[in-house]
Symmetry: C2
Subunit: 247 residues, 2 copies
């Protein structure tokens, strides 16, 4: 489908003409969210391409790398105040060799010299985050994109090496799940063992027996046990916990 | 001290003239080694500069990022078959703004246009490794460098943001100490708890009571207990352990 959107074309033309970016480097954000026990990842789609991609972009010459990641995420999803963690830099020679940029620009009738940096090799720095799915409901449309959540086990066709980036990002999130829970306020400050087990099971895609989970988590020495939680029901009151502060 | 070394000058001139590198990106290697209970890091010094730096370099256009890291390490230290782990990418705006490249080139009387990429901003990808100090005894001299091990607590004046890179690399090594021990064969396949404690104490810069260490390590579920080790002495024979294989 070819859409003639003059604002879109203008934005792209500006991106091509500017010399304000650090050439050969980009950032890509893998944003994971969970809802009702299912883990999803946030993807974008340009109307002119039949592949989906991670929210990503370039770094201004006068901008720190980490600031670029936060800006790119905000510009393309309106997510702000998100704790983004850098997890890996992807630098295989042919990772961006599938012509997505050429197709996009050709569809918009934007003339670009063949030796332009946008057609050359890119090394991309991956950032990841685990957020509350319910916080990310609406998205802007500045580059004429569709934005959607996909289950991590049911991904659509992806641009470049973005499937690999999602895989590595997910491993990082799984390995650092407690950091992400604290930094992005995924649980209230005090929570029950059952609340925590639900988050772990969704993100790690594993089921645990209640006693096994409690034993494993307590052995990690990352939790502090607090008072009991009385909700007025007839059930035995569970303890509340919180994460220990890291040095 | 100004040294006129024609091979050195020729190498530098070639580096400046070539268009075979991915501009704006470099790799830096933090190589940690321990010996007699002291943890050290490997640094290089150009004769023309009064600062030390990590073994680092650029990425060829037709080279994967990870291959560049291994090549750069080998070229500058003759260390090969080293397990290098990417740990972080450093992209602050002014991280390379201290003129080291200008000084180096001026001392060699190499003319470089002021808009050459070598004077522009660089984003660097950090790789780290923990190796057996005794393996790294000799070094080549192709760029006329001095190579030396420094205690991580007694670093000399460093170029760019290399002090920060060492700090982050050391944290990564400490967090992933078991991966590094296995990948770089820092212990024989079967070892005693005491052997392991010595490595941990050196790298983590902490002392443990024997029982505490054993309890903590076993709780991590990364070791497999094997047969007892009889060395013929009158002491009680200790168990041997090995690392569980990761999936």
């Amino acid at each position: 489908m070819k859409i003639d959107d003059s604002k879109n074309k203008q934005d792209l033309q500006q991106l091509i003409d500017t010399q304000q970016f650090v050439e050969h480097i980009s950032v890509d954000c893998t944003i994971f969210g969970f809802d009702n026990g299912i883990l999803k990842v946030l993807l974008l789609k340009y109307h002119d391409l039949d592949v989906w991609s991670l929210p990503g972009g370039f770094i201004f010459n006068d901008e720190d790398l980490s600031d670029a990641a936060s800006r790119v995420l905000f510009e393309r999803t309106h997510l702000s105040d998100t704790f983004l963690e850098q997890f890996h830099t992807f630098g295989q020679i042919n990772r961006t060799a599938n012509n997505a940029h050429q197709i996009l620009l050709k569809h918009k009738n934007i003339e670009v010299p063949p030796d332009h940096w946008i057609f050359q090799r890119f090394i991309t720095v991956g950032y990841c985050s685990l957020i509350d799915f319910n916080l990310a409901g609406t998205f802007p449309n500045s580059l004429n994109e569709t934005c959607a959540w996909f289950e991590v086990n049911k991904l659509p066709k992806l641009a470049f090496d973005h499937e690999r980036i999602i895989e590595v990002g997910l491993n990082h999130i799984r390995k650092n799940i407690d950091t992400q829970i604290v930094a992005n306020n995924l649980l209230p400050e005090k929570f029950t063992m059952k609340d925590l087990q639900t988050v772990y099971e969704t993100v790690l895609d594993e089921k645990y027996r209640r006693n096994n989970f409690q034993r494993k988590i307590l052995a990690l020495n990352i939790l502090e046990r607090l008072e009991k939680f009385f909700d007025g029901s007839a059930n035995k009151a569970p303890y509340l916990y919180r994460f220990r502060r890291k040095n």
